[in-house]
């Protein structure tokens, strides 16, 4: 790693996070016991596992709270690899002084989301640290489930000609958090935080389903850049096809953000073979959360390989790159 200290930029998704992860995994990789970089690991015996830490400010935001977010985040990591969210572990680090009612309200929303998914809390841990050691609380989840597809859903399965889809409109979680954090209320702007399993589980029989990823930190843009790099293929997007709500657009315009890089917590990107694209869309659109599902681009062997380009609304072409560092609101 080039930098001498870890900064918030390393935690924002995008290129710097990738560098930090590679740096941290080095000890494991040297010993040949490192993970592959997907949302959840596929384990021997037909199981999948993932872990994810959550720190969000504010802890309760338009459309959810940190408890709901923790369950959705973990469950969605399993879902995009074709595994059902069966068991959850939760570890809480609480700052001295936080109110028990507040924490239990997050447990209530976590439990209700688990119940909705048929997920059981199997393990847990709590720690309390002195005031100032963390801001309020950190919640870390670990989810475990059974793989429900005979095919491996992975970046390495992406092929030339595949269609690229999103399951709903992008950027709503990041925009909702930014709206709360920067005190810029936008009417009707809610986080998309929701479990994806009910919708994605209906696609697992499709032979053309290649790869799925929930577009969390770093947003859709980061996911597609990672896929393009890993597959060494060219991804071309059509700007007009990418669903972005009016509210997300407005907030991004004000703050100088790009909806492509805003976090989602209930939206997945999919790569699907052409033969199954229509069927995928048809199934997705029947789900209440995926009415805006759309084909947004194609995978090809065109140049430049390993990169993402976009056909813009006005008929121009441009590159889509991975974001760098912390996404900060602009001056004017």
């Amino acid at each position: 790693m080039k930098e001498k200290t870890i900064t918030l930029g390393h935690g924002s998704g995008g290129r710097q996070s990738t560098e930090l992860v590679a740096f941290l995994l080095d000890s494991f990789r040297r010993r040949g016991i490192g993970p592959e970089l997907e949302d959840a690991a596929l384990l021997p015996g037909g199981y999948a596992m993932t872990t994810d830490g959550f720190t969000v400010s504010p802890r309760r935001f338009p459309g959810g709270d940190i408890g709901h977010l923790c369950v959705c985040g973990c469950a969605n990591d399993l879902a995009v690899r074709g595994a059902s969210p069966d068991f959850l572990g939760i570890s809480l680090v609480l700052e001295e002084g936080i109110s028990p009612e507040e924490v239990s309200s997050y447990m209530e929303s976590a439990a209700s989301t688990c119940a909705e998914l048929g997920m059981t809390l199997a393990a847990g841990d709590t720690k309390v640290v002195p005031s100032g050691a963390v801001e309020g609380m950190i919640i870390t989840g670990c989810a475990f489930g059974q793989i429900r597809t005979p095919r491996t859903l992975s970046m390495s399965s992406i092929r030339e000609g595949d269609a690229l889809l999103v399951t709903t409109s992008v950027g709503r979680h990041g925009a909702a958090i930014a709206s709360a954090r920067f005190n810029l209320p936008v009417e009707g702007l809610l986080s998309d935080c929701a479990p994806l399993w009910p919708a994605l589980s209906l696609l697992l029989h499709l032979e053309g389903l290649r790869c799925m990823r929930d577009c969390t930190r770093g947003g859709l843009g980061t996911v597609l850049c990672e896929w393009a790099e890993a597959s060494e293929l060219h991804f071309s997007l059509d700007e007009d096809s990418i669903p972005v709500s009016f509210q997300v657009k407005s907030l991004c315009d004000v703050l100088g953000f790009d909806p492509l890089y805003m976090a989602c917590e209930g939206c997945a990107a999919l790569a699907v073979a052409p033969s199954d694209t229509e069927e995928t869309l048809r199934i997705l659109r029947q789900s209440p959360l995926c009415g805006d599902a759309a084909v947004i681009g194609r995978v090809s062997s065109a140049e430049p390989k390993g990169m993402v380009s976009m056909r813009t609304s006005i008929g121009g072409e441009r590159l889509v790159d991975m974001p760098w560092g912390e996404i900060l609101p602009r001056i004017c």
């Binding site: 918030l8 920067f182 813009t312 006005i314 441009r318 790159d321």
Partner: protein
């Protein structure tokens, strides 16, 4: 959204006969041009040159150092978000924050009033950066702080005036610019008058445009039209938002709080009368006076050619550091730091002629 862009681009292709370079002064224009892929649909005769209009990019190293020195002295320093990553020899607001110093992001200058109220025992300093678009907000903050007699709030005013910098570029014989695309939001405040020197003194068209691709293309078409007909003028395609006389309220506020001074622009050097300094009546809120700071213009790091990028003399790929030593992850010069900087925009959106 319906767009007239393809039609205007086609029109541009028809009316643009002689090769010409047009400068978009403002960083928001630069990013919109890249994000919408405008360059890829322009006629080959029309070359766009990105100017010095990103407030982050032109904030001098010495100015950043002054802000960091106040953090070191225990003050709370509040700034707009995109200032956080701008490096100088002493680090950046972000790196200071990661070492536990109290640098805070605000989206409105007025947020600083609350920070000062919540920290009565501490000095709270607002880093005032930006052009005529953000200077009125800083002026309003100073006036409100004076009205409430707040004792622990002050402002580092590094605000800059657009017209003197544009005039330097218009007068530069090496650039030979055929027109300027002027930022709509700056002209909403200033009106037409401060840029009238473009056609009148230099015979160059100046067209005021908004920031969506349709507006930018319309503005470019107007510049090309005036250039081809040899009738340079100052015009607005921004509609009713820009009044010729500007925004009287904002102008009066600027006049009340600020006076003009010479100011250092990163990469461009000191430009006479191009800065906004607090007037003597408000010196109690002037952080430079309160903390006896002397802000010295900084020097660019060795090899950095941001000065030539900011004046449109070279494009970022022509700088030897671009993409090798200088990346958004470890920027050498300011044009790479900001999301609206020319080098940052090239890095993100442009990978050579194939795109």
């Amino acid at each position: 959204m319906p767009t007239s862009a393809p039609a205007v681009a086609a029109l541009l292709g028809k009316i643009s006969r002689t090769p010409l370079s047009v400068m978009e002064v403002c960083g928001t224009h630069t990013v919109s041009i890249f994000r919408s892929g405008i360059r890829s649909i322009l006629p080959p005769t029309l070359k766009l040159v990105s100017g010095p209009g990103c407030p982050v990019c032109v904030t001098d190293q010495g100015e950043i150092e002054a802000a960091l020195s106040l953090l070191d002295r225990g003050a709370v320093v509040a700034a707009y978000g995109d200032m956080f990553k701008v490096p100088c020899d002493g680090g950046s607001l972000a790196s200071k924050r990661s070492r536990g110093l109290d640098a805070r992001i605000v989206t409105s200058a007025m947020d600083v009033l609350a920070i000062a109220g919540e920290n009565p025992e501490r000095e709270v300093v607002f880093l005032g950066v930006g052009f005529e678009t953000t200077a009125p907000a800083t002026a309003a903050l100073v006036r409100e702080a004076a009205r409430r007699k707040i004792r622990n709030l002050s402002v580092l005013s590094f605000h800059k005036r657009t017209p003197p910098a544009v005039e330097i570029l218009a007068a530069d014989p090496d650039l030979r610019l055929a027109g300027f695309l002027l930022p709509g939001h700056v002209c909403v405040i200033l009106g037409h008058e401060p840029f009238r020197f473009l056609p009148e003194k230099y015979g160059i068209p100046g067209v005021i445009a908004g920031f969506d691709p349709d507006q930018i293309l319309l503005g470019l078409a107007e510049i090309v039209r005036e250039h081809e007909l040899g009738t340079p003028a100052l015009r607005s395609v921004y509609g009713k938002a820009v009044r010729k006389e500007g925004n009287g309220k904002a102008l009066r506020l600027l006049e009340e709080i600020f006076e003009h001074r010479d100011a250092p622009w990163r990469g461009l050097g000191t430009i006479p009368d191009s800065g906004f300094a607090l007037r003597k009546d408000y010196e109690a809120f002037d952080a430079e006076k309160r903390f006896s700071l002397s802000v010295k213009p900084g020097t660019l790091p060795p090899g950095c050619r941001c000065g030539e990028v900011l004046t449109g003399k070279i494009t970022p790929p022509e700088c030897p550091l671009f993409r090798s030593a200088c990346t958004p992850g470890s920027p050498v010069g300011p044009c790479m730091v900001s999301g609206e900087g020319t080098c940052g925009a090239y890095f993100r959106f442009y990978k050579g002629d194939s795109l």
